[in-house]
Each structure stands twice: as structure tokens, then as C-alpha cells.
Amino acid sequence: MNTPRMPKVLKQESKPSNFCPGCGYGIILRVIGEVIDEMEISPRTVIGLDIGCNLLAWNYYDLDTAQSHHGRVTPMLAGYKRGQKESVAIGIAGDGGLYAIGLQGLIHTAHRNEAVTIIGVNNSLYAMTGGQSSPTTFPGEVTTTTPGGKFTEPKPIYGPELLQPVASEGAFLARGTVNNIPVLKSYIKKAIEAQLAGNFSLVEVVSYCPTNWKTNAEATIDFSKKLESIYKPGVING
């Protein structure tokens, strides 16, 4: 049998994936699952989901999950964690959910240093609604609302960097990428450790969206390398 070992916390029946071929979410959910397994926190972990492709994650984990409206996963998890302080609360959301419609909630959750972990998936556009520009769309990027690269903003939003001035000393803010799984995994682990120590954490993950990027396998890697040159992986706080 050559099938790769799945994290225990992922449902064995969750294959085949209902993400698009080449989507980065499969990697991200798997890495989160591995960290949950290794830290042996699954009996006390809950997953908060936003709107966007992330919500499909409810199919994959043997964990309690709740889905909020777009951008509201951070305040919902903040309330949850305050209500059950022994729990581990992990939210998964996209760049639109976190940096556009949910930015207010995200900033204040970081500012209040709520002990929750947010995994923010950055694929530079709104994927589930068909590839509109998002706060992480880079100047000149073509999306369905920036045809020919028109109407893009002078600068994208760098989420972890934006939160850094309001984040507490113990908060963990980092950016990883699906192209470097070991580092991504170490960031997610540090983020949950920060939560266990009573602090806020955000890991932005630069991901793939071949469907909306309209890229084949090779071009997907090129596109994501370009994204990585704009969104530099590393630890921003903590």
C-alpha cells in the first residue's frame, strides 16, 4: 500500500477531495491535522470556518466545526474561547474574509489578544465566488473584477504585518507557504502554542488557486513563486 499516512484527526472517508484539482487547501488542512495529532489536542479542539472554500473543511475533520458568516469567524471564536477556556480554537478563513469584510473583527481580536489561532489562506482573490479581486490582489493582477489588471490597488494588504502594531508581545504572527510544508507546520505549531499560552496567533498561508488563476500545474508553481516574492514567508511577531 502506497497511500500516504493521513492524520488521525482527518476523516478517513473524506477522500476524494471536493476541492478543485491542484487546490492548496488539501495541503493546508492536512498540515493542520498533523499538528493537532502531534500536539494531542484533538479532544479539546474546535474549528471555526468562514465563508469561502475554507468552509468545505467541515467534511474533513473529526472535530466539532461551526461556520460563520463571511468574515465573522474571528469574533465567533473569540466568544467560544471565552466560554470554554480549556479548548483550542482554530479558525480558517480566506484573504477576503480576513482582510476585507472581516478586517475589523480580525484587528480587534488581535488587539484584545484573544487566545485563538487563525489560519488565513492567501490565494490573492475570492475563489468561491469566481475569482474577484481581494485585498491581497497585487498591482496589475488579472481577476474578474480587475480585467486586464485594471482597477488594482497601489499596494496589497499584508495581514500579519498590519496586525503587528496592535498585537501583544506573546502573540504569534507569521506567513508560511504551501511550497514549504515543514516550515508551515512549524508555524502552525507555534501558533497553537501561543494560543495555549493565552495569546492570539495568525498564520497566513500563501496557497494555490489554479481554477481562478487559470493556470496549469507548471504555471501554478510560477504564480505561487510570484506571490511568495510579494508575500515573504517568515515570522512577523513572536
Binding site: L63, H69, T74, M76, L77, K81, G83
Partner: protein
Amino acid sequence: MANNTEKKISSGVKPKKELLTGNDVLLRGAYAAGADFFAGYPITPTTEVLTGWANAAAHDSRLEFLQMEDEIASGFAVIGALLAGKKAWTATAGIGHVLMQDPLAVAESYRLPFVMYVGQRGGPSTGTVIYSQQELTLARFGGNGEGLRIVYAPSTLAEMYTYMHKAFETAWKYRFPVIVLGDGYLSKMQAPVDVSAKLPKVKSTPYFLNGPIKNMRNCFSMEEELVEHLNFMFKEFSEASKEIVESESYQTKDAEVVVFAWGSVGYAAKVAVAKARKDKLKVGLFRPITMRPFDSAAAIKAVARAKHIIIAESSAGHFGRIIRETLAQNTDAEYVRLYKPAEGITAEEIEKKIREVAK
């Protein structure tokens, strides 16, 4: 069993009474129910609920307090806390109530015991900061769904206590969101009130980390899936409604003039009816206590002998539309509208109208 009652107007000051504002009374009702979590955002006229809870939480570590960045976040924090098993609630008004309908829609879909007090203020938009009865439709049917929530409308400070407590009871028993729909006058007024009644603490249980894995999702891929979910909820709502529905019919048995009023105007109407009765006028009052579900059977019964129906409300017809729809096939009485959008209606005004109509 519908709860249609006739309550006596209390007079005189009882020794057990305390001098409290409506917002104070709400807090007492919530404490009595065992509420232990509040998330909110300041807005007149309900800010003192937020500050009052903050003060209490500062001295009692069992009470969780979160001042959020807006009402949407407040409502979602309440949702999170409910999933964790907290008896969580919030209070808001006016434009904050508009934003709060966003999380309330989730609570409706998830069948969460979301409890909220609304102190209606004048609208549209920022309006006035104190009073109206213009948020009735929003409370009943706000959100992008079917309005599967319970709306209690207290009419006095004493009822603010009873129904704030009852909101938690009903919410946790039936798992539908519950709104206590007051107004700025009820929130801000100060008067002697008895809040000494010992009421039972409400039992709560966490939704999560509590047995079988739960996936709380309100996103449906197929129309058929959603319809199935909705039909199940309609059935449960309709069954619960039979037990939940409440109203007061006062002096309606032989009434030829029936006043329809609710909330604080409902109490003014009752005082007016009591005064007119002293002059042998055949007048009565129908006052819904649950604005949703609505006690249609009692409303229809109340107009059995009615020749005139006076609808008194501080809006231009939010309430009147419910009444006319409910009574459509059941009365030939003439409708008299005493509509004062975003303005108070005194007992004297209602009494004057009764005497005009009864001539």
C-alpha cells in the same frame, strides 16, 4: 395552551420595591436566569445594560464580559459563547439592531438560544436616541429568513424583569432565538419595581466538545436540502408556538370598542381603558405579549362584539398591519388609527380617542 390573561393594574407602592431603571431591571432578570456571558457595543438607550454588566463582571469572575468592535461582532461572540454552553446575551437598539440581525440569522439556522434585548429608538437611520415602536417588523422578521424567533414585548418595568428571565428559559427550552423588545422609555425610565421574586436558574449545555462530533453549517448546496431543514424548523416552531404564545385581554368580553396596543403603549392603553370603564363605557384592550408568535386566536376572540378597533402604536403601522391581517375575516368593526411614529402615546390621548369613538 395559549397564555391569555387578564392582569390587574397594580396601584400603590409595595414595601419590597426598589427604585430602578428599566436597564437595571433587565440586568436583574438576566442574573436571575443565571446569565453568565455578555458581549455588546454601546448604543443609546441600552448602553447601561453594557456598562451595568461590565460593572458586575468586574466584581464577579463567573461573569464574562466582552466589549466588541460592533454589533455584528457582538452577536457572533454571543454565538461562540452559546456553542461553549454559556448563557450568553446582548442588548442593542436601532441601527445596532439592524446589524445584530446578521448574527441572529445564524442563531436561527443553528437553533441557538440567542437572547437579546432591544430598546427601540426612532428611525430611520440614526433617528432619535430614545423611543419608538418602529423595530417591530425587524425584530419579527429581520434577517434573510423566515423569522423563526420569539419576540416578547414587556409593557412595564415589572414585566421587563419577568420576560428578561423568561427569555432565557424559552430560548434554552425551545432553542430558538428570543428577543425582548422594549423601547427607550422602558429602558431609561426609573420607577419603583419589585424584582425580589426568586426565579429558577436556566440550565444550559455546551454544543461542542460534548459527545458526538457536530458540524454546525448554515450553507446548503441544494435547494432541496435547505427546504428539508426549513420544513423541520417550521414544524418545531409551530409546535413550540402553541406553548409560547402569550397575550393579555383586558375587559374585552362585552367590549364594543377594543384598543389594540403593545409594549409601553399597551400599558398606557390599559390605564385609559380602566378610566373609561369607570364611566361604563364598553371598552377593552387586547395586548399581545409575544409579538411573534402571535396570539391570533385570542385577538379574534377579543373583537367578538367590537364595533370599533383602535390601533395605538408609536409607528406608522408596523403593528396595525399584523392586526388587520389577523382580523381580516373575523370582524366588521371600523379601524381607528392612533399612529404616532417615534412619539410616545399617553394614557390621556388614548382615553380621549376612546371617548371620541364610543360616542
